[in-house]
């Protein structure tokens, strides 16, 4: 078969390495590929290619030549999970280590689950189709809470007990990470350990602890290994006891073992240029939700939008240098051949050198049919300039802005400061420079929100169309309004807020639609995209829940709950029913966790998990929000003492980087990758 160098990776790619002999470890698990048993099932399931692996840049290592083995899971379908940057980064970092192996597993769709159960095929990795139960660590990346039921399916299919305390030395350590893991309490019974924050260094430290533990002959078994992890700053929920007051509130959370710290701190990766991962991004064979290569241009965000958990928990801002970004783009395209590169971050237009970066890349890849994109929520003229630069060779179809709130008052509450005049001016610029459609993102159900605030969205959308018409002189202007339900998240100033109940949210949405439709001529030019408020309520339950919510998750899962992030699988009724059965005997209910406002003194389930944000600062920011007082960005104004930098021992890292730009040599040969092999004169040699 195809041999030869594969972009300097020293391992075979995409091949099933049959392990013929059961590995003689204490685990006594014969580690053979389950592929021969899986293959007959594949013709009977939808999109079977998602289960076969073998993607360009996938890595398969010899089981016996490694001592620490990680299985990394993204608990959603392959098409969503494969492009996930977190998993891809850790997969590559771990596989680069000698003696360490990492493979991937994803949630299997219900049709496949049913067949696997009927034919006794366990949860498997897509790389070498090894059973998940055979690995040392099962690392699960939770980008959202809606993957919790899928974790239970995977554990059950793997033959791993659902509950941490029922696991023995034979089972992998189930380790959670990702943004949702900043409040892992709802899944505290199901996971063994949790890493808060950036995973790059943490996985290497954990690997070393596991390696040493196994080399020593596993003294003290599973309990001892978890103790060592806990002593090194990993959160082990089983070593923290939660007690409750008679009124249902948490009394206190305290460690139950000596040497286990009271508070657990988040990890922060600094100097992103030192971590240029993924160097060789995976290229899916199956279709995926992001058909592009991503380069993370900075981490963190200090714009201070009060609803945004990602912005709060990833502080401070750490930029990759422009040179670092360009190197990653070049290497990544050489390794993948993708048609599009996404410059990723929480607000990419905020990179201090973004103008030079986009101009440089657009020049270099002009004529190679390589697209550039960047997510940005900024609402200003600079964003339009950037978009013009990115689209200079293509069609100017749609441009996105995120004012998030309909009225100026509510925008001050959420700290998304933009005046309506500026917004209209920005949008006019966009239409004037050739864009035909503008998409506006909003949220509904924000704290202090009134019907008026939401109806204001209609006024704004109509104004946008009118301004677009006069700026462009055309009538075929479109504006799409996309509205998400707001969910209060832990570690944000809104962690104390009452979530709006779905009926209120839905009623406001109905009124908004009517308001938009009231002007029939303009209304036809405005599209409205909205998901009903019910899923948001469940997301709210899972976001701010405590350990008692774990029983609701398990009940829902036992009753068939799967893929809660997918409308066609999500069942609001099932969640409500399970919550109504499980929670009242514990003295709480759905409303208690969602639509109830918290008080200043209340012990929040995640208070012992430290994101670096000072609780006092968060509370004051919450009070400022209620007064509609704004907060500046510490990148451009003095530090406002949110607490993150001193707690995590970090500092803002931003440009100018002072590193020279790459010489801009346009590639221009139909492909973004120059290959000298094709430079020889034509004709066969």
């Amino acid at each position: 078969m195809v041999t030869g160098s594969w972009l300097n990776s020293g391992v075979r790619r995409g091949t099933v390495v049959p392990v013929r002999h059961p590995v003689a470890t204490l685990w006594h698990v014969p580690v053979e590929s389950v592929y021969p048993r899986l293959e007959p099932l594949l013709p009977h399931v939808s999109k079977p290619v998602q289960y076969v692996g073998g993607e360009p840049n996938a890595t398969v290592k010899d089981w016996d030549e490694t001592t620490v083995r990680w299985c990394l899971m993204y608990p959603d379908a392959y098409e969503v999970g494969l492009p996930n940057q977190g998993v891809m980064i850790l997969y590559e970092i771990l596989n680069e280590q000698p003696g360490v192996l990492a493979e991937r597993t994803y949630a299997v769709w219900p049709d496949m689950e049913e067949l696997m159960r009927r034919h006794g095929v366990p949860q498997f990795t897509v790389d070498a189709h090894r059973p998940v139960a055979a690995f040392d660590v099962l690392g699960v990346s939770f980008a959202t809470e809606l993957g919790y039921t899928n974790l239970l399916t995977a554990l059950d299919l793997a033959g791993v007990p659902l509950r941490s305390r029922e696991r023995t030395d034979e089972h992998p350590v189930v380790l959670a990470g990702g943004h949702a893991a900043f409040n892992p309490e709802p899944v505290a019974d199901f996971v063994d350990a949790v890493v808060l924050g950036d995973g790059e260094r943490a996985v290497l430290e954990i690997t070393e602890l596991v390696r040493r533990f196994k080399a020593e002959g596993r003294p003290g078994g599973r309990e001892r290994l978890l103790r060592r992890l806990a002593e090194h700053g990993v959160y082990v929920p089983g070593f923290h006891e939660v007690t409750y007051r008679p009124d249902g509130h948490i009394e206190r959370v305290r460690p139950t073992r000596e040497g286990v710290p009271h508070r657990v701190f988040k990890r922060t990766t600094t100097d992103l240029d030192e971590w240029p991962y993924p160097k060789q991004p995976l290229v899916p064979v199956a279709e995926s939700v992001h058909e592009r290569m991503s380069v993370e241009i900075f981490r963190g965000c200090t714009r201070g939008c009060r609803f945004c958990q990602a912005g709060m928990i990833t502080r401070p801002v750490r930029e990759r240098s422009k040179r670092g970004v360009e190197d990653m783009v070049r290497r990544g395209l050489e390794a993948t051949g993708f048609e599009e590169v996404g410059l990723l971050s929480l607000s990419s237009a905020d990179h201090s050198e973004i103008g030079e970066i986009t101009k440089g890349l657009a020049d270099r890849y002009e004529g190679t049919n390589t697209g550039l994109s960047l997510p940005s929520t900024r609402v200003d003229a600079f964003n339009v300039d950037l978009a013009n630069e990115l689209a200079r060779n293509g069609r100017r179809s749609g441009l996105t802005f995120a004012p998030e709130g309909g009225s100026e008052r509510i925008r001050r509450v959420i700290n998304k400061t933009v005046s309506e005049r500026d917004l209209i001016r920005t949008v006019s610029t966009a239409y004037a420079s050739g864009w035909r459609q503008v998409k506006l993102y909003f949220m509904c159900g924000l704290p202090t929100e009134t019907d008026e605030d939401v109806l204001r969205i209609a006024t704004m959308a109509k104004e946008v169309v009118r301004a677009g018409r006069s700026a462009s002189g055309r009538r075929d202007i479109r504006c799409t309004v996309s509205i998400g339900g707001f969910v209060p998240k832990p570690h944000t100033p809104f962690q104390w807020a009452a979530q709006a109940d779905p009926d209120t949210v839905d009623a406001r949405m109905r009124a908004l639609r009517e308001e938009i439709g009231s002007d029939r001529e303009l209304g036809r030019r405005i599209g409205v995209r909205y998901h009903d408020g019910k899923p948001s309520l469940i997301e709210g339950l899972l976001s701010r829940g405590d350990r008692r919510v774990g029983r609701v998750i398990e009940r829902v899962w036992r009753e068939g709950g799967r893929f809660d992030g997918w409308n066609e699988y999500f069942s609001y009724e099932r969640w409500v029913r399970a919550a109504a059965e499980v929670l009242p005997p514990l003295g709480v209910d759905m409303d208690w966790f969602t639509t109830r406002e918290r008080t200043r003194d209340e012990v929040l389930p995640w208070d012992h998990l430290d994101s670096g944000l000072d609780r006092e600062w968060l509370w004051n920011d919450w009070q400022d929000a209620l007064q509609a007082r704004e907060q500046e960005d510490c990148r451009w104004t003095p530090c406002f003492d949110c607490g993150v930098c001193p707690t995590t021992g970090t500092d803002i890292e931003m440009g100018p980087s002072g590193r020279p730009l790459l010489p801009i040599t346009p590639v221009r040969d139909g492909s973004p990758v120059p290959n000298t092999a094709f430079d020889t004169p034509s004709g066969d040699r």
Binding site: V2, L42, P48, G337, N369, M443
Partner: protein
């Protein structure tokens, strides 16, 4: 993902599929090359759209100077001849690429092979001669494995199928329910008894194939199964291996498994004796009889 928004359905870009053009329009510049490629092992589960995506990225990764269509969303100028269905392996798939300029075909083949994932392999690359490639792809030779069916039963069922004048089956296509006459499309079909050949089964298949099939595509020898080697004419809509299985169910009460393993062994024009002619032979001759090796590395 944007807060509060969830994946709904699957927004997708569409892969444009060109039909094979017979002659180059005078306005289009560039150089055309024809490929025979394989689809084996795990990648037999890739759909046509999956394959086009994988191929396009491999071509870009390999730095091949691909020609693109003009317009707002340019797409690479690749023409795919009717590809094997999802789940079906093949030793003989064909495509035609248009490049911006001529390159050595051997280099093209090697660079592309190195960039393609395992299972996809460029077996031959030949500069395009005159005439349409698609017009030469008129029939296929198939290898079908019927898991759980004894060789005797298989040959019995085949006899019944061949003795009829017409055997109709239904298939739901994109255009709705269609009735296909399987018998009319089957040119010849033989049953192979794997037990007679023992471990030399691969060799039997090799005799029928333009290339050595990969061993992963061969079934577990301990199990009972029947094998059919058949030549099927390409009709519209095309009769696929599962249509033949359905036809066998119609004529004989075969306990045929839902889906058999199938491999396309060859594709081309039917010659007088019912054999399949190499569709690239003309191009090769035109390119100066310098055939690019079809051996596997």
């Amino acid at each position: 993902m944007y807060p509060g928004l969830r994946p709904v359905g699957r927004p997708r870009r569409s892969t444009t599929e060109e039909t094979l053009s017979q002659y180059q329009p005078a306005t289009v510049t560039g150089w055309k090359v024809r490929l025979r490629y394989t689809k084996r092992d795990r990648l037999r589960f890739a759909s046509h759209r999956d394959l086009t995506r994988v191929f396009e990225r491999a071509l870009r990764r390999a730095g091949v100077p691909l020609a693109y269509s003009r317009g707002y969303s340019p797409h690479p100028r690749i023409s795919w001849a009717g590809t094997a269905p999802t789940g079906v392996a093949s030793e003989a798939e064909y495509a035609e690429l248009r490049l911006e300029r001529e390159v050595p075909v051997e280099t093209l083949r090697n660079e592309l092979r190195a960039a393609l994932p395992e299972g996809l392999d460029v077996a031959e690359a030949v500069p395009a001669g005159a005439g349409s490639l698609e017009e030469r792809l008129l029939a296929s030779r198939w290898w079908l494995e019927l898991d759980g069916v004894a060789p005797g039963e298989t040959s019995e069922a085949l006899c019944r199928l061949l003795s009829r004048d017409s055997v109709e089956v239904e298939r739901v296509t994109r255009k709705g329910r269609r009735v296909l006459d399987v018998r009319a499309a089957v040119v010849s079909a033989d049953s192979v008894d794997p037990t007679e050949y023992g471990v030399h089964l691969d060799a039997v298949r090799d005799r029928h194939s333009v290339d050595a099939p990969h061993t992963d595509d061969c079934p577990d020898r301990a199990r009972q199964y029947g094998i059919i080697v058949m030549v099927v004419r390409h009709t519209t809509p095309v009769v696929r291996p599962d249509d033949v299985l359905n036809a066998l169910r119609v004529v004989a009460d075969l306990p045929v498994p839902g889906v058999a393993r199938a491999t396309r062994l060859a594709q081309g024009r039917l010659d007088e004796g019912g054999a399949i002619a190499d569709p690239l032979a003309q191009d090769r001759a035109a390119a100066g009889s310098r055939q690019v090796g079809s051996t596997l590395g």
